[in-house]
Subunit: 242 residues, 2 copies
């Protein structure tokens, strides 16, 4: 009987994957994933069998992985970042209910929150909240409540999926909600294409971020009340008395 | 002039570090860190120069790293998990203000939130908050407010530093606060020694977790209202309609 590893490949570059992930991709029979992510790893694991489905075909992609495992193959289902953060780990375990004989193991990776934080400096050294602005699978009211609560309790906040063609004004809406509790001067940062070609970081105040357009390859960081800019980097102190 | 990499080595095992981290530890001149973490990597990077300080000597450890860099060395300052999540990245950038000539780069790693999530299944597939229960550097009132806000907005919650000798009842206090908004049946999980020898995962309800003693090597996961147990794993659905 086969086995499935649900694997986070990290932000994008080969070097940002863990050694365990690389070993699994090296030793598995077939690599399954969204076309774009498979393309990111293909050159490093030549000769493997690759199976892809386009975006929005997530459930189909999971079934595909289980069908390969049923044939006795060792399968790696790859996700960008960490497979358990807005990734396929949850859905794989849900669909796995129909395949109780197949073992599923989730292998962690570097998610955009920590990958992007490293590029900006150290914005997440204290408590933080991770929120996706995509309302495709979540009611906007839930997102709104989480933005308000996290802002009120002075969390640093990381926003995934801050924008898309249909949601071009969602970051603005999110900033307006956070501005009810966070100062307009709050230090913010964005990172585009974390760990990939074209990586760009940029610092803003929350007031400026509100009027900024970002794309779907951007991860957005909003500081807490203590976050500051040091030497061009975004730093949230943990509180060591220097 | 030297350079400093602030490096997250992941939860503990060599395999859970990224390829980039391994390359940096391989090529640097000196590895600086808390004694316990240096011991975790020592065998894999034999022949390096190692400098250690005990716990609570964080600022001294940072100064030590900068002094080595001033001598022209390439320095890796290592942290467990991710260097930017309750790690040394923030403090290094703060102390770096006094060493503007030394470049500091933060290299991300797998933090306990995602490392432990993989062991439990997929508890963080939707929005989540990361909160440390240590009040050594943070007023307890701030921690309390964050616990209440995150619970009220139905975040999944990860607790770092849930316990210590002096804080043996903090997890109970935290659970009581979260129980104001989260049901006693909320699915929870703990992971001890993530990715290391002696790794143990355990599932609870929030009501049960309240009466459980954990140690300082434990990371605690509290589900949101949708979190369920599937096949012995903790799963927070993202919301795909199956």
């Amino acid at each position: 009987m086969g086995k499935i590893y649900v694997v986070g490949i990290g932000p994008g570059s080969y070097e940002q994957m863990t050694i365990r992930t690389a070993n699994i991709l090296e030793s598995c029979d077939v690599i399954v994933g969204y076309t774009v992510y498979v393309d990111l790893v293909k050159e490093h694991f030549a000769g493997k069998e690759f199976l892809t489905t386009p975006m929005t075909r997530e459930a189909q992609r999971c079934e595909m992985a289980f069908e390969e495992a049923v044939k006795g193959k060792t399968v790696a289902m790859i996700c960008s970042g960490d497979a358990g953060v807005y990734g396929m780990a949850g859905l794989m375990l849900e669909i796995g209910e129909s395949y109780p004989q197949i073992e599923v193991e989730v292998i962690p990776g570097v998610t955009a929150a920590t990958g992007g934080a490293g590029v900006l400096g150290a914005p997440l050294t204290h408590d933080f909240a991770v929120i996706s602005l995509s309302d495709l699978l979540t009611p906007w009211e839930t997102i709104e409540k989480r933005l308000l609560s996290a802002a009120e309790a002075d969390f640093a906040i990381v926003l995934y999926n801050p924008s898309s063609k249909k949601r071009h004004d969602y970051l603005q809406k999110a900033c307006d909600l956070m501005l009810r509790y966070k100062a307009a001067e709050t230090v913010c940062g964005t990172v585009v294409n974390i760990g990939r070609e074209g990586e760009v970081m940029q610092l803003y105040t929350l007031g400026e971020l509100r009027d900024t357009q970002v794309d779907m390859f951007t991860t957005v960081f909003i500081g807490n009340s203590q976050t500051k800019i040091l030497n061009g980097k975004m730093v949230t102190p943990r509180g060591y008395r220097l």
